[in-house]
Symmetry: C2
Subunit: 291 residues, 2 copies
């Protein structure tokens, strides 16, 4: 079984408590309740790769609480700070560093909190009528006091994939990538598409490569801000690349041996995506013939 | 390869045209441009299971156009009618009937149009600042004239799955189902979850059954209003059911023989979901050992 980054969280999401005001109030009053420490949207990481937590009383007076779940019965919250604005669109060097150090299960809890808080920060108004909305369901939704519309956190499915042809994999680089970095291709799934269709369309649009059969490999949540990354492999019908330079700066075919050498630090065909990115999991699984 | 309903569409989405106002204007002026016929959000279906189309000039003066794509180079649009409101939450008998008759590839085009138009109808205001937004990118987004936020159609990932134990599959029925209908279990994937984790959580919450390994089977878009249905099979670690009666009215284990008999019309263990629903594809593939 593959274990991509941001998976393996151990919190019980305690869905029923979101609908039970009394249970929620009791959880907030529980002496074992804890609040996720976030500094400017970034986690605090302990020496052993765990998240930092504090008392709920450490939150500002105007904070609103989001129930992340229960850790062996102990309530775990994150705080929404009115007026804090939305997180920056790019990951800072300190956040990159934190993500490298967090244990995967801990990263899963951070991912849940970060996606939820980001959604609240960007969705304070009713998309249906424009009125300011209020938090409900322990932070898992917002409701409009005017038209009564209920809004729920959004998760955007993204397909992320390599094409495969005669034992080689297609990887590409976006202009925004760090120097030397190549990764799987990726793009948002659109309304009216299946996963398999989105994989074929994206490889076709970005690299001009026609793809037949598509197989699913693994998935991960990606909290910048709230994607579901769906990793697949598409069987290319050709190895001719026709690049869309609006999307990709370069794309190339690499062998299993080249990918393995890059991942074990002995090769320089390209610089791999970080271990917590599912593109890393995908390339590793493909190179080791596990996917 | 499995072919769930609402997949196999043949329109070229012509992504580049969404960013090219001149090309879009030319497409709208093209004498071969056509407009999808919708009556109260429902398609017109020809005798051979195809969608009905008309001239763009048939749209009301205040209609806005959404570019669905190109059919062998010929532009295809749908019309957004201001003030029409949002579609009803439930499928009408006439819509059920249309869906039974549409060819799958045609249903895919309808799904794209319906999801896009529904999203516009429910998202006329900026979620970030509350200002009325305007359509852009040929109908594939809305932009806020005040804060400049760009909003894109949402697609909500839903996991839909059977649990499997000793050659039997777990199916369930919601109170709202027609009498006798059973289907796969299903639920929205939440922020911070992988597909596999959502499958385990949902089966646990709804049926109290613990699941180990999860395998992906297939996916389909579901345009009521805009789900991505992700069909999976979870390996149950037990066959003891503990029902959450808020979610399910009943759940039970069925054999491959029972499912096959239901699907070929000779069995009465339950009434199957309609062929265009991926739950049907999933049950069929499982029963025939193709998944």
């Amino acid at each position: 079984m593959l274990t991509p980054g941001f998976t393996g969280g151990t919190l019980d999401r305690a869905d029923a408590m979101r609908h039970d005001d009394d249970a929620l109030a009791a959880a907030m009053g529980n002496w074992q309740a804890r609040l996720l420490v976030l500094h400017n949207w970034e986690p605090e990481v302990t020496d052993d790769g765990r998240l930092g937590w504090t008392m709920l009383t450490e939150a500002p007076d105007d904070a609103e609480f989001v129930l992340l779940g229960l850790d062996r019965g102990r309530p775990r919250f994150a705080a929404l700070l009115p007026g804090q604005g939305a997180p920056p669109p790019f990951r800072s060097p300190t956040l990159f560093n934190a993500l490298e150090q967090l244990q995967p299960g801990e990263a899963a809890t951070f991912a849940t909190a970060r996606s939820l808080l980001d959604w609240h920060a960007r969705h304070g108004f009713c998309a249906r009528c424009g009125t300011a909305t209020a938090i409900f369901r322990a932070g898992w939704g917002r409701r409009c006091p005017n038209c009564r519309a209920e809004h729920f956190p959004r998760t955007d499915p993204v397909v992320i994939m390599i094409a495969e042809h005669n034992g080689r994999a297609l990887i590409g680089r976006q202009p925004s990538f760090p120097a030397g970095r190549y990764s799987a291709l990726a793009g948002f799934l659109e309304p009216g598409e299946s996963i398999e269709e989105a994989v074929r369309r994206e490889i076709g649009e970005e690299a001009g490569v026609e793809v037949g059969a598509v197989r699913y490999v693994a998935s991960q949540p990606w909290p910048f801000p709230s994607q579901l990354m769906i990793a697949c492999i598409g069987q290319a019908l050709t190895d001719q690349i026709m690049l869309d330079t609006n999307e990709l700066e370069d794309a190339k075919w690499v062998s299993r041996a080249e990918v393995l050498a890059v991942l074990n630090g002995t090769g320089d065909a390209f610089i791999a995506p970080p271990p917590y990115a599912i593109a890393h999991t995908l390339l590793d699984a493909w190179a080791r013939e596990l996917a």
